[in-house]
């Protein structure tokens, strides 16, 4: 075949891969050829279909895609699907070799595929999502050159493919006549698990034959015996709830994470890669079956109270239980979230600047801050960039000039209220009200923090002056409770009234809508949050729905002042600079909300918290939340949610800039 040689090239890293398999999970391997290269190398494997430029988007940004080759091969009358990323060739140099390999799909037999969902939007790229019988799914495969229809047509020639009655874009593989059979098959097809952990590249033993294609078998795969040694599955009779769960999982393609995670774990055992991203090395490695039983155990111990929909599953390891976390959150962040780095220091920052002081690559800088934050003394220099007060491409001289111009402008603005005489004030209710509110609030903002401590504290006076000046600068918005919470760390960092004022102004450009009179900015964010929870934890969403908690008012304080009251002062500054990088998304704060809620999901649902109890519980979490792991979890969730996550957040949701300014997303992220 003409493509043989190029395939060999594509898979030239497979020696490492095979080695890792041998090393890390030898006990699970029954594959007789350890030096695997490609399916076509295997005796009798026949290449059925090959498609180049099929990509995976590991992040929400299409610019970070990983391109590869999609193949269908046939062996012993079984059809296999594989997707191998191109080596050393990606649109984004930052994606490590490991990142790319992470997604590799190695010959999955179609006996283990439950359905293929196709997306062929008028605008944008066509893609398919392959869902396995277990409910696991692979990340969307984008057909950059089109051809989804052709792909499905070819699949159809080899396996039984039926269009779903509920959704015309879903093609069910191995469809069975009755739901009972379907359920049984999805439960008993044990081979999905080895596949998910990347093991069943080939049939595990000689037992697989054409009847495993599914349509003829009564739903019980004859490979059960070969896999039962993993102690995975107990026989289980038909359970409609479970069937529904499978459907739910399938619905949210992102539950794909299972597939990704297990693939990841396979690679985390791999010592073959030289320049391995550190995050993979320190992670505990579980084999998939072990993990499954862990979930069940944890669930059992964590929540003595029974779940609403869960009556009988304590013993049965199951990934599709309704109340179980579809993302298996505890492990999620280990896989996706990078460990935090030490904060960026002065030397490191200088390396980002050219000789005139421009930030050469703003995205790299933002990435660095995202993963480690900033040393305190350096914040004064970096925050103005993050907040948008300074342009990344400004020079030292330009910034110095801006500083002096803005200083004068600030003085002029401040003069406006300073010149109000007592007689004028008497006739100026709005001013008196605002001043009264500000006076009240500044003396109760962070007063136990050293910088604002004590009577007649000059910094407290500066805070009042800035807020009053702001209420004149933005008279429409005025002063709102919560603003002093935002200003306090900014003034502490900038140590200069005018600079702090302009940084605060820049922040309010994005977060001002939080304080809108109609509360629209808050409602939009709470709505987006509910959508994200629906996407990332549908059982929790259902729970909130049933308990009349969908307004998410219990997260109001979190969002209004971006967790200022939830963490101690230094931690708040760390969180804010991470949020302000807008590195992965403008809305990381919403993923932070999801991360915290998921952290406590079993408590919330296990204790059957109603709205009041939940509100109290959330309020009292203040000071109890670990920041680093929360950021990691949020990062993991954001990556995992990918485009579906981004699509859950309506355009213009704060802190996105308002829609009418025409900037919905950071320019860096534009798709070319």
């Amino acid at each position: 075949m003409s493509m043989e040689s190029s395939e060999l090239h594509d898979l030239s890293d497979d020696a490492d891969y095979a080695a890792s398999q041998q090393q890390g999970s030898a006990s699970m391997m029954r594959c007789d050829s350890e030096k695997r290269s490609s399916s076509s190398d295997h005796d009798g494997a026949e290449l059925i279909y090959l498609k180049d430029n099929v990509a995976i988007h590991p992040t929400q940004f299409a610019s970070e895609r990983i391109s590869g080759r999609l193949k269908l091969t046939k062996q012993d009358s079984l059809l296999f699907l594989s997707w191998i990323p191109y080596k050393g060739q990606t649109s984004n140099a930052k994606l490590s070799e490991k990142d790319r390999s992470l997604y590799t799909i190695t010959a999955v037999p179609f006996t283990e595929v439950r359905s293929i969902r196709r997306h062929t939007p008028a605008l944008g790229w066509q893609y398919v999502i392959v869902v396995l019988s277990s409910g696991l799914a692979f990340p969307p495969l984008y057909f950059y050159n089109g051809g989804v229809r052709e792909f499905l047509a070819i699949v159809k020639q080899h396996v039984f493919l039926a269009r779903s009655a509920e959704d015309a874009n879903v093609f069910i593989v191995n469809d069975f006549q009755s739901p009972l059979q379907r359920t049984l098959s999805s439960l008993e097809l044990p081979s999905t698990l080895p596949v998910a952990s990347g093991q069943s590249i080939y049939p595990l033993d000689g037992g697989s034959s054409s009847e495993n294609q599914g349509r003829t078998s009564a739903g019980v795969d004859n490979r059960v015996s070969s896999v039962s040694r993993y102690g995975l599955r107990k026989q289980k009779s038909h359970d409609p709830a479970r069937d529904l769960s499978i459907h739910l999982l399938e619905k949210f393609s992102l539950v794909t994470k299972f597939a990704r995670e297990t693939t990841t774990q396979l690679f985390s055992e791999n010592n073959g890669f030289g320049s391995v991203d550190k995050r993979w090395n320190n992670q505990p490695v579980h084999s998939y079956p072990e993990k499954l039983s862990n979930i069940a155990e944890e669930k059992y111990h964590e929540s003595p109270h029974s779940y609403p929909v869960d009556e009988h599953d304590e013993e049965i390891p199951n990934v599709v239980d309704v109340p179980a976390d579809p993302l298996e959150f505890n492990k999620l962040s280990l896989v996706w979230g990078k460990p935090r780095q030490p904060p960026m220091g002065s030397k490191e920052f200088t390396a980002f600047l050219d000789y005139e002081g421009r930030v050469v690559e703003s995205k790299a800088l933002r990435e660095r801050v995202f993963y480690g934050g900033i040393e305190h003394l350096l914040r004064k220099e970096v925050w103005p960039f993050l907040l948008g007060y300074h342009a990344y491409d400004s020079t030292y001289a330009e910034r110095e000039y801006l500083r002096s111009v803005k200083q004068m402008e600030y003085a002029t603005l401040k003069q406006q209220w300073q010149s109000i005489s007592p007689e004028q004030a008497k006739r100026f209710t709005k001013y008196r009200e605002r001043k009264g509110l500000i006076d009240k609030d500044v003396v109760r903002t962070d007063r136990s923090f050293e910088y604002y401590e004590g009577d007649d504290n000059l910094n407290v006076n500066s805070m009042r002056d800035i807020l009053l000046t702001y209420s004149f600068y933005n008279f429409d918005l005025g002063y709102c409770q919560g603003m002093s919470d935002y200003l306090s760390p900014i003034l502490f960092v900038m140590e200069d009234e005018s600079e702090a004022f302009w940084c605060f102004v820049a922040l309010m450009e994005r977060l001002g809508p939080n304080f809108n009179r109609d509360q629209n900015g808050m409602h939009t964010q709470l709505f987006a949050l509910s959508k994200l929870v629906e996407l990332l934890d549908s059982p929790l969403h259902e729970y909130f729905k049933q308990n009349d908690c969908l307004n998410y008012f219990f997260c109001f304080r979190w969002i209004l002042i971006q967790f200022k009251r939830e963490f101690e002062y230094e931690k708040t500054m760390q969180l804010w600079e991470v949020l302000w990088t807008q590195y992965l998304t403008e809305h990381l704060h919403l993923y932070v909300c999801v991360a915290i809620l998921k952290r406590y999901r079993s408590k919330i649902m296990g204790e059957q918290m109603d709205f009041d109890t939940l509100l109290k519980f959330i309020n009292e979490l203040s000071g109890q939340i670990d920041l680093d792991s929360t950021i990691r979890d949020a990062e993991a969730l954001c990556i995992c949610a990918g485009e579906n996550g981004a699509a859950s957040i309506p355009p213009g949701t704060p802190p996105s800039l308002p829609l009418d300014e025409g900037i919905l997303y950071p320019q860096d992220d534009d798709v070319l």
């Binding site: 307004n551 209004l560 009041d612 509100l615």
Partner: protein, 216 residues
């Protein structure tokens, strides 16, 4: 505190809201009553909080759930949801700031808009310890309360003056209305409010008026 489960032993659960302008001392009244704490530098309230305390009223165990809301008008749109189910309210002003007393009218309207018409309301003039700064004479508060059929009390969360009494008074009034209603309902053959249930006060103008309000 008994965790987050609502199973502790009590006869009635009453929800009471604290309302009034920003900085009049709502949060400190709450912490004084529920935790016997006072903090001069307590932060402004963002969103909504609540705390509970259980106390005995006329031989019954009452669990009081006291809700505290942000004072700024801007947040009322979102906090209004929290009025749901309230059977009592403490409408607080600051005796040293006349403007906070002048706003009482608006708060009362707001309350009437979001709650049952006959919830027990007490007007509370807080910060009575700052006698030298008094800007609202006791008589003003009292006569306004009479005119609007509200209970009235001057308190000092700082000195813990009348705080206990103010809450106890409101809770007692609520209890009396509740039990009276139960008796009436019993006579009508409708049964009584189940033990431990949250109750609502409906159409009890006469009951409230008869009982008289309050400990002037």
């Amino acid at each position: 505190m008994a965790g987050y489960r609502v199973e502790d032993d009590y006869d009635y659960l009453f929800k009471v809201v604290l309302i009034g302008d920003s900085g009049v001392g709502k949060s400190n009244l709450l912490s004084r009553f529920t935790k016997n704490e006072f903090n001069l530098e307590s932060k402004s309230t963002i969103g909504v909080e609540f705390a509970t305390r259980t106390l005995a009223v006329e031989g019954k165990v009452i669990k009081a759930q006291i809700w505290d809301t942000a004072g700024q008008e801007r947040y009322r749109a979102i906090t209004s949801a929290y009025y749901r189910g309230a059977v009592g309210a403490l409408l607080v002003y600051d005796v040293t700031r006349r403007a906070t007393f002048e706003n009482v009218d608006r708060w009362l309207k707001e309350l009437k808009n979001h709650t049952e018409p006959n919830i027990v309301v007490m007007l509370v003039g807080n910060k009575s310890d700052l006698r030298h700064l008094l800007a609202v004479p006791t008589e003003d508060g009292k006569s306004y309360a009479e005119q609007e059929s509200l209970c009235f009390m001057e308190t000092s969360a700082l000195e813990a003056t009348n705080v206990e009494d103010a809450f106890a008074e409101v809770l007692t009034q609520i209890y009396r209305i509740t039990s009276k209603k139960q008796v009436e309902a019993g006579e009508d053959g409708n049964g009584s409010v189940p033990k431990g249930e949250k109750i609502e006060v409906k159409n009890d103008v006469s009951a409230l008026k008869k009982l008289g309000c309050c400990s002037n």
